[in-house]
Each structure stands twice: as structure tokens, then as C-alpha cells.
């Protein structure tokens, strides 16, 4: 069963922290926790970035759940928690928080990397950058 190994797969507007997702994958039998934070950075393509606005398709939460289930099925020894934030974010905010735990580190590293890659590939979420000069741009849509 993969469901019991997915502790969280959610899309929402509340602020994210790594501590939150790491706590969700804590397990006395697991000696390795690997986590990833996708953080709003202050530059893109050589231009200064002030803020990012994330929007999601109504199916984003379901897709994130499918992504987590696919990773859980491909990595049968891990436990997963993943959350994506939407709405207005500023530099330093966490947009994507993921944590994976397992008995040993190799499986946790592999599954966390695969999870982040698949979230970015599949989840219907978009971000609009606001640059220092006030110009805006949808990332990846030019």
C-alpha cells in the first residue's frame, strides 16, 4: 500500500516550512530524512526579482497526490510528505517543501530527487515573476 506512506500531498496558500514536512515523515525505523525547499530567489536570467505569484489549476492537488503515489510505488521503502504553496510569495519564501525518509540514506536521496523532478514536470502550477523594474513575466511561457 502506497497511501499509508504518503503523509502529506497538498497545494494551498499557507506558509511552508521544512520542519513541518520533516516532522511528518519522522519514523523510529527511519535513519535518514532528506528534505528539499524550493525557495523564491531574488534573480532570474540576470534580472532582479521582487516577488512571485503562484497560481494552480483546480486539479493541482489531485495531480500532486498522483505524483506522490507514483514515487511511493517506485520507492517502496520511503515515506513522503510534499506541499506546494500558491498565492503571492516574496523572496525567501518556500514555494515547494518536500521530505522523504527511509531506513538508509540512499533510498531517501533518490526518492526525494525524483519526487521534486516529477512535481515540477507534472503539477499544473504557474508562477509570474515581478522584476525590480515592475515588469512581470510568466516563467517558462516565453
Amino acid at each position: 500500500m502506497t497511501e499509508s506512506r504518503i503523509r502529506l500531498a497538498t497545494v494551498g496558500a499557507h506558509p511552508l516550512s521544512l520542519a513541518e514536512v520533516e516532522a511528518l515523515v519522522a519514523d523510529d525505523a527511519h535513519g535518514a530524512t532528506v528534505s528539499f525547499a524550493g525557495v523564491v530567489r531574488d534573480h532570474d536570467g540576470g534580472r532582479g526579482v521582487q516577488a512571485l505569484g503562484y497560481t494552480a489549476h483546480p486539479s493541482a492537488q489531485d495531480v500532486l497526490g498522483e505524483v506522490a503515489a507514483e514515487i511511493a510505488a517506485a520507492h517502496p521503502l520511503v515515506v513522503i510528505a510534499v506541499a506546494h504553496r500558491v498565492g503571492p510569495l516574496v523572496v525567501g519564501d518556500i514555494a515547494l517543501a518536500a521530505a522523504v525518509s527511509s531506513a538508509h540514506r540512499a533510498e531517501a536521496f533518490a526518492a526525494c530527487g525524483a519526487l521534486v523532478d516529477l512535481v515540477k514536470e507534472r503539477t499544473p502550477i504557474w508562477k509570474e515573476q515581478t522584476f525590480d523594474d515592475g515588469a512581470t513575466e510568466w516563467v517558462g511561457s516565453l
Binding site: S59, P124, W126, W138
Partner: protein, 83 residues
């Protein structure tokens, strides 16, 4: 025979279409026909529409020749950029 399609546009595609949602009657009952119907009034959208994927009644496709039937709901999705 004309078909009526309810189309929704997201992110950059919404900006290009000038609306979140449009009721369209494309001359050709395909996704390409639907995009042509939008492009007739929003020619600057052609580039972004060409990079989109689509949900037809909730099912994903990137096939511009995908046939559409009267009453279909089509979501126009630009390249994903989460994380």
C-alpha cells in the same frame, strides 16, 4: 455543423486570451480550430498557445488535431512552472 466549446485559460494563456473563460464556436472542431478561433481576435497569443497542453473534459492531451464535440470543455495550460 458548428460546435460550442467552453474554454478556460490559465496563467500566460489567460493573459493572451484576455479572459479566464470563453464560449467559442470554432470553424474546425479540433483543438487547433479552437486556438484559431481565439487567435482571430488575439493574434499575439499564437506563440504561447503553441506551447500549451490541454485538458479535454479533464483528460490530458497535447494533440492539436484532437477532435472536439459540442459541449466539450477545454482547459488551455501553459508549460508548468511550479517549484
Amino acid at each position: 455543423m458548428s460546435v460550442q466549446i467552453q474554454a478556460r485559460f490559465f496563467a500566460a494563456a489567460r493573459d493572451a486570451a484576455g479572459a479566464e473563460s470563453l464560449a467559442l464556436a470554432p470553424q474546425s472542431p479540433t483543438i487547433a480550430g479552437l486556438l484559431a478561433a481565439v487567435g482571430a481576435t488575439h493574434p499575439e497569443g499564437e506563440r504561447i498557445f503553441g506551447r500549451c497542453s490541454f485538458l479535454v473534459n479533464g483528460r490530458s492531451t497535447s494533440d492539436l488535431a484532437h477532435p472536439l464535440a459540442d459541449g466539450d470543455r477545454v482547459d488551455v495550460l501553459p508549460p508548468f512552472a511550479g517549484g
